[in-house]
Symmetry: C2
Subunit: 370 residues, 2 copies
């Protein structure tokens, strides 16, 4: 905050709130903020009156720093929780300082910002961007442990999905079993809800990357990509595999082999000091010689998150991103190769180690032919 010239930081991103305070509840659908002042030890949570018990139970913060915003500010056209928050900042002598806001966070709406500016006309607002997200880029050992647990969950769910997909089975039945597996967890621990739903398109839906399931039955010669994430205490480990029902063309098999080789090559390039774009470049050089069309977006940082996205919104494995890898950064590497309208996808979640990489997910890398 000091480097950015920000005195007061208003945190809207639920994952950033969680990281700084421990707060964890399904309340991000209404206005709330975690307020961090550069010269105060403890942040302030302001949220809906009915949700303060949730803040008391899940954060490390003292009761005096958990402030209820009255119900009348919610679901109203002419006011907003942001009005209450602006008044609070005024009353606590913060309105003449530089206030950072997360301008591109899902739950910081255009309206929220407008209410803040109207109520604090003399305040300097500054876009804090993904300031806290960047702090979260390097994981602690505890965070890595959470991600390993999430990885165990997604491996189990992938096995469930691959085993269940057969002609005559409806996609929603597979999604139901996958959800069951992700959340039921292991004997030692349960699973949390992932920030995105399992994707497992069937038939022509496979040509679209983000269609959710339907109750269409899988058919002989169908083709699907399972894109799932395990989640433990909000920490995610995603995993993707491609599944064909019945024998498939040599072209698809060959493309899957190229994808696997490229994934391996890119992982082998991972070590501290290498840049994100160099990883993408290693992937590209490997597949380029095989003449296959490619996407330029090989992956993204990964960790704690809330719906609608498990991606970290910081470092990306793609051309132009010169973020230097450091130990305990974690990424989801998700190469995809296209054959006409069909994509072949195969991914791993990994962490950067002192000398290279460690995949957190450990699942056979191949095209699954059912």
């Amino acid at each position: 905050m000091q480097e950015e010239g920000i005195d007061v930081l208003l945190i809207t991103d639920p994952a950033n709130m969680n990281y700084l305070s421990g707060y964890d509840a399904w309340t991000f659908y209404v206005g709330q903020m975690l307020i961090v002042m550069v010269d105060e030890q403890e942040p302030i949570w302001i949220g809906r009156d009915q949700d303060i018990n949730g803040a008391r139970l899940t954060t490390w913060m003292s009761k005096t720093h958990i402030i209820p915003c009255p119900e009348a500010y919610y679901h109203a056209e002419t006011t907003s929780p942001m009005v209450f928050i602006a008044d609070f900042l005024h009353q606590h002598g913060q309105s003449s300082r530089t206030i950072g806001v997360e301008m591109d966070t899902y739950y910081f709406t255009a309206s929220a910002y407008q209410f803040l500016k109207e109520k604090m006309p003399h305040t300097t607002f500054k876009n804090a961007g993904a300031l806290v997200n960047w702090v979260r880029l390097i994981k602690s050992e505890q965070e890595i442990e959470y991600m390993k647990r999430a990885a165990t969950l997604v491996e189990k769910a992938m096995t469930t999905g691959v085993e269940m997909i057969e002609p005559g089975v409806r996609a929603n039945e597979v999604a139901a079993e996958i959800y069951y597996t992700l959340i039921n967890g292991t004997k030692e621990y349960g699973g949390d809800y992932p920030a995105g739903v399992p994707l497992l398109p069937s038939g022509e839906d496979t040509t679209a990357l983000h269609l959710t399931w339907s109750d269409r039955q899988y058919k002989a010669d169908d083709y699907t990509i399972l894109k799932l994430a395990g989640c433990y205490h909000r920490y995610h480990s995603p995993l993707s595999r491609t599944v064909t029902i019945g024998e498939t063309s040599d072209e698809i098999k060959e493309t899957a082999a190229v994808c696997e080789e490229g994934l391996h090559e890119a992982l082998e390039a991972v070590k501290p000091g290498t840049t994100c774009e160099e990883i993408e470049s290693a992937w590209y050089k490997k597949i380029e010689s095989r003449g296959t069309v490619k996407d330029s977006y090989l992956g993204y940082s990964i960790g704690a998150n809330y719906p609608p996205d498990w991606g970290g919104h910081t470092a990306n494995l793609r051309k132009g991103d010169r973020t230097m890898l450091q130990p305990n950064m974690t990424f989801h590497m998700i190469p995809r190769l296209w054959i006409g309208q069909l994509g072949v996808e195969m991914s791993e979640t990994f962490r950067v180690t002192e000398t290279g990489y460690e995949t957190l997910t450990d699942y056979e890398r191949k095209l699954f032919v059912k």
Copy 2:
């Protein structure tokens, strides 16, 4: 749009996009818009390049109206899909017109609006608010049918939850079975993902309304509120019930009885021509005589939605809301009574009929004592 003086409407709310175009995909985590021009028959979809197949497959729109926004606009600090959309509007002669934006929609961020304004400095922007949400308030017979299917799913899931909750069972195991039931569906149809996760707090978490599950085991004398929604083709029917493990105090039993009577009384007040606040008033008058503290927010309109909220963001059953009930409006009525820190909750999803009401959910209204 004509009444509001809006020439061009930029739709960000995924449920509004779905209602107008059929578009249905998990892509609302990146910038996209449905553009409705007051003098054009067909809207325009602009979204991420890799997602245009999803638009082609799920919308009724012609290919020429599905416009890919290049990948370079995404996950970038210095640009945004809104820059591409602004350029598109310029090129199509729309920038001198009045453009409506959904200012308080989750996925219309402060940054998105700023990019639009910067790129279109001479354009008049107007807050369209919940314009399309209000159009969606009265449901078609098809929509009611979808909600009835969602209601069947949530009844099954509630039965699963009530049956499973026992001492020694972990909350995540119950959540896993509930998810399975919601999505596995019936022989005739499968279930969709609900816009909010099942809530089933245990122990002291029950004092907070929106904590999600943990892997804590239910204990003897525990207490929980199951708040679930079934979802079919994005249409929701929510349902809440309170469950105690083992015999509970007479005070809790009495409060549950009052809650049930109040719910019944409020439903009986439902008919076309009555206002939303009159329904809340019927509830309040009934419980007032019983000396129980109450919340002022008795419910909300309900229908199609996407994460993070299944509520309609239009009419609310509360004081001050004079929206007049009309046939085929649908609501989730969710009374809650507090005994100290503990809440008793019992809800129904209903539609307004020509003469009164019809509950879509049909589940025994009582305190479930396990």
